[in-house]
């Protein structure tokens, strides 16, 4: 077999199997670091052996066996201490054969291995862990991203991320966080927690930020991949399907939402031909499937809103009345000023500009929106649509210093110029 073909097989196995191998090893050894290191060694071993022996029929089983043997070796060495380590060098320790036919019990526990991956995701996303640690550990243990990759994605030094991972794993062990799928009475709440971590991961990747586009796109891919895995593991969980549909529908617009110069393009102005049709189809199909179950939740509602946009052939065809209704349902289930702000836009776009502006005005005193640039940006946009240029310009100017990234600042500046304001406050002095 050619080396590139083997490399591809190993890469594919890495994406498919990393989480399973790590998850099973954690269950057997209780040691997260050991599990990661041995999984890494198994993949290195695959690169060495597969070109010679061929790619095994069940790569996951092969990798789990090799990683398991490494773990056994290390644990034995650790237990016997330094003195016995020398002996171990002379007489090789008996190890399991990595010929899968010779490995009995490992391969009969496919269900158990699938459960391991669920145990792993629920443990990584345990609500007693720091939120940043949950996201990082999920990316490390389940998705197999390196510490350096995760650090890049979150724009922190690698040492900071390494510390965060160590601290998170440390709490799991020291505080006695169980390695398990939560019992039935905890499951709904904990599942919501897992979905929140995946959606946070997705949004981190989706939010526009210059320079790190590629790495951030990787976060979206991982979140969707994990979302798919979770949906397979929990086929009866409607919100898992809703979250996956939501991520797919948002992701379908990724090529259209940023222009050639990195500028932000609003939904209204996006070239809809550049939307990913396959992702839209999959998202719509999942959503339709899950809405039939009549167990609606916040992710399904948000996906339904995204679906309204996805189905509209042009911005003018958007069913804003439907969207406003969906936001009202979402607001009732998940009261949040950000949801109300979105409802304001939908109400205005559905034809009642004044009612939309009234909702925005009512949100003005909201402390949680004080530093949220979209409050003023939304007000500005609605005022602009009303033809109130001066008031719109003033609102854009208030939004500008609050915008979180250069992409958003540039968008606001260009709007500000359109309504006749000066964007002097936005341009950084030449250095």
């Amino acid at each position: 077999m050619t080396t590139p073909a083997v490399q591809r097989a190993v890469d594919a196995a890495f994406r498919e199997e990393w989480g399973r191998v790590v998850a099973t090893l954690i269950r057997r050894t209780g040691d997260w670091d050991l599990a990661e290191e041995c999984a890494q060694e198994a993949f290195t071993e695959a690169l060495r052996r597969w070109p010679v022996d061929g790619v095994p029929q069940r790569p996951g089983a092969w990798l789990t066996t090799v990683a398991g043997n490494r773990a056994i070796d290390r644990l034995r060495r650790g237990a016997r201490g330094a003195e016995l380590l020398e002996q171990a060098g002379r007489e090789a320790l008996p190890r399991s054969d990595t010929n899968e036919d010779a490995m009995p019990e490992l391969f009969d526990e496919t269900d158990e291995i699938e459960d391991d991956r669920l145990r792993l995701i629920f443990t990584c996303c345990h609500p007693a862990l720091p939120l940043e640690g949950r996201v990082a550990l999920t990316l490390r243990s389940l998705a197999g991203l390196t510490t350096a990759e995760i650090a890049h994605a979150f724009l922190v030094p690698e040492a900071t991320m390494a510390k965060r991972l160590t601290r998170t794993k440390g709490k799991i062990a020291a505080a006695g966080i169980p390695y398990r799928v939560p019992p039935a009475h905890l499951l709904p709440e904990r599942t919501a927690g897992v979905l929140a971590v995946l959606y946070l991961m997705f949004n981190e990747g989706h939010s526009a930020s210059s320079g790190t586009e590629l790495i951030r796109a990787g976060l979206c891919d991982e979140a969707i991949r994990l979302g798919r895995a979770l949906q397979q593991m929990m086929p009866d969980e409607p919100e898992a399907i809703g979250a996956l549909a939501l991520m797919l529908l948002h992701h379908s617009r990724r090529h259209a939402r940023v222009g050639g110069d990195g500028e932000l393009i609003t939904l209204e102005e996006q070239d809809r031909d550049r939307w990913d049709k396959a992702e839209i189809q999959e998202g719509l199909r999942l959503l339709e499937l899950v809405l039939h179950r009549r167990q609606v939740g916040p992710y399904q509602l948000q996906a339904a809103i995204a679906a309204c946009h996805a189905r509209a052939a042009s911005a003018a065809d958007t069913d804003w009345r439907e969207i406003a209704g969906l936001y009202a349902l979402l607001e009732a289930r998940m009261p949040s000023p950000v949801v109300s702000l979105n409802r304001a836009v939908a109400v205005a776009m559905a034809g009642d500009l004044e009612a939309g502006l009234a909702i925005v005005d009512a949100l003005s005193g909201e402390a949680r929106l004080e530093r949220y640039y979209l409050l003023e940006a939304t007000r500005a946009d609605l005022l602009r649509r009303r033809g109130d240029q001066a008031a719109a310009a003033a609102a854009y100017e208030r939004a500008l210093p609050l915008a979180p990234s250069e992409v958003e600042r540039r968008y606001l500046s260009s709007r500000l110029q359109e309504v006749g304001g000066s964007s002097a406050t936005a341009t950084t002095p030449n250095s």
């Binding site: 345990h126 609500p127 720091p130 020291a174 505080a175 006695g176 966080i177 169980p178 939560p182 709440e189």
Partner: protein, 241 residues
């Protein structure tokens, strides 16, 4: 695993809150004792009854009052024996204190040492002696790091000595702040946050309960602990009716 449930009060509860606590706490105690997850618990006397002990250059320095002069204070604790953190969280969330104020769960890093007098102490049967809580307040910036092996060894020798003298009721070092979980219940929803409740830099690295003739003896015992040389130990009596 053994966990310590710190009862953190932020000020005195309002009269209606106090009524809820008085009505609901006995049921919680009864249920958790029956299940065997709660070993014992006691309410502390108010913070102003505390003394803070430091030893510097061989001199014992005692200041009146609690170590942390914050609005929040530890009002008591419960000791748990749970399968894992999920069970400890469940016990904590059912504790009526967490509905109004909050509780902090900390694992004992090396298990809990319970002396022969522990159960009588739990029942509030103190007899002729008085129990005192010694809280080891550590800051992460000076002295040997928390968990320093030499300090732990010396602390253990100190404890052994107290056990031999029959005055050690219970206690052991706690897991660090990285292992803490704070629990609140609001509108029926259990809210967890990672880390200790108090946001001050110093934290309680361990507790011991000693039974003493008087406050002076408790202060002397605290002064003999290695943490007093590097950090500070708060000595506080328990509430008794």
């Amino acid at each position: 695993m053994n966990y310590l449930l710190f009862i953190w009060a932020d000020g005195m509860p309002a009269p209606d809150e106090l009524a809820v606590l008085q009505r609901e706490i006995p049921g919680w105690v009864e249920e958790m004792d029956r299940r065997g997850v709660r070993l014992l618990g006691r309410e502390l006397d108010l913070p102003e009854t505390a003394a803070t002990v430091r030893v510097r250059d061989g001199q014992t320095l005692v200041t009146d009052g609690p170590f942390a002069e914050t609005k929040e204070f530890v009002a008591g604790f419960d000791l748990l024996e749970c399968a894992d953190l999920d069970e400890a969280i469940e016990v904590a969330a059912k504790c009526p204190i967490s509905w109004i104020q909050q509780v902090e769960i900390r694992p004992f890093s090396d298990g809990l040492r319970l002396g022969a007098q522990a159960s009588a102490f739990g029942r509030g049967e103190d007899g002729a002696v008085s129990p005192y809580l010694l809280s080891m307040w550590v800051d992460g910036t000076s002295g040997p790091p928390p968990g320093d092996a030499a300090v732990l060894r010396e602390g253990e020798a100190w404890r052994q000595d107290l056990v031999a003298r029959g005055i050690h009721v219970l206690g052991n070092p706690l897991g660090g702040t990285d292992t803490a979980t704070t629990v609140r219940v609001r509108d029926g929803e259990t809210l967890l946050s990672d880390g200790p409740f108090s946001e001050i830099e110093e934290f309680i690295a361990g507790i011991d309960v000693v039974s003493c003739a008087d406050r002076q003896e408790a202060i002397q015992l605290a002064a003999a602990h290695p943490i007093a040389r590097y950090h500070a130990i708060e000595v506080r009596p328990f509430y008794s009716e």
